[in-house]
Symmetry: C2
Subunit: 145 residues, 2 copies
C-alpha cells in the first residue's frame, strides 16, 4: 500500500473525514519525499487540480501533526516545514546566511537527549528541531572577502 493511502486510512480510522482537499495535501507531501512548507504544498496542489484555500492546507497539515502522522519542524525565521512520519527523525542544520538545510540523523543526538532527560526530566522530540549556524559554503564565502 502506498504511503499516502496508509495516511489517509489512518486519518479515517481516527474519525476524520476524507475530503478531496485532504487527499491532495496528503498525496503531495507523501510523494514529494522531502520536507515542504505549507506554501509549497499549496502551490503543488493548485497546479495539480482545482482551487483549494491556503487555510485548508494549514489546517490539514496541523491535523496530520496532531495525529502523529507528520512532523513539523520550525526552522526559525518563519520557515516551518512538514514531512510524513516515513521520514525517520532527524535534525535540520540551517545556515543563517544562505538558508540551506542539511539533515542529520537524530540517532547522533540520542546520548545527549538521554542525558537531558536524566538531568532535567525533559523529553526531547527529535524530529522537531533545527540548529542554526553557518554552512561550509558560506564559511568559505565569508573568509574570501
Amino acid at each position: 500500500m502506498p504511503h499516502c493511502r496508509t495516511l489517509i486510512e489512518a486519518l479515517h480510522q481516527r474519525g476524520h473525514r476524507i475530503t478531496p482537499q485532504r487527499e491532495m495535501v496528503i498525496e503531495t507531501i507523501a510523494h514529494s519525499g522531502r520536507h515542504m512548507t505549507a506554501e509549497e504544498v499549496y502551490e503543488e496542489v493548485q497546479a495539480r487540480s482545482r482551487a483549494i484555500n491556503i487555510a485548508t492546507i494549514y489546517r490539514t497539515l496541523d491535523l496530520l501533526v496532531e495525529e502523529g502522522l507528520a512532523s513539523r519542524a520550525d526552522l526559525g525565521g518563519g520557515r516551518v516545514v512538514y514531512a510524513t512520519i516515513r521520514h525517520g527523525p532527524h535534525i535540520h542544520l540551517v545556515c543563517r546566511q544562505c538558508g540551506a538545510v542539511t539533515d542529520v540523523e537524530a540517532e547522533l543526538f540520542k546520548p545527549l537527549f538521554e542525558y537531558i532527560c536524566a538531568h532535567y526530566g525533559f523529553i526531547c522530540s527529535p524530529q522537531h528541531f533545527a540548529i542554526h549556524g553557518l554552512c561550509a559554503a558560506c564559511q568559505q564565502a565569508t573568509s574570501n572577502e
Copy 2:
C-alpha cells in the same frame, strides 16, 4: 561599567548613532537579566518613558544581533527571544505543551557540535536554538489522565 553602557559604547564605536530609543531598549534588555521577546521589551520601555514605536524595537534588537552584542533565539511558534551576550551561550528546552523554557549550558553540546563540524563542515551557533519536547510537569499531567 554597567553592562548597558558597554553595549551602548560598542554600538557607538561601530558607527551607529545613540538615540534615546536605543538607550531605552538596551537598558531594558541588559537590566532584565533574562530573555525577552520584542513585545516584552516594548511594554517595559513604554511603561518607563514616552512613546516608542514597536518597529523601532524590532530594528534595534536586530541591530544588536547583527553586531554580535545580543543573541536571538527562535523558540518556534512565533516566539523569538533576545538576550545580551552577557548571558553565556545556552540551549532552550521548550515544552510543546505548556511553553515553559528551561536553559541548559551549551557546554554540554560541545562534543556534538564538534562532530557535526567535522562531518558536515557546519558551524553550529550555540546560543541560537531551542529543543522542543515535553517538560517533567507536563509528562506527569499527561500520564495522570
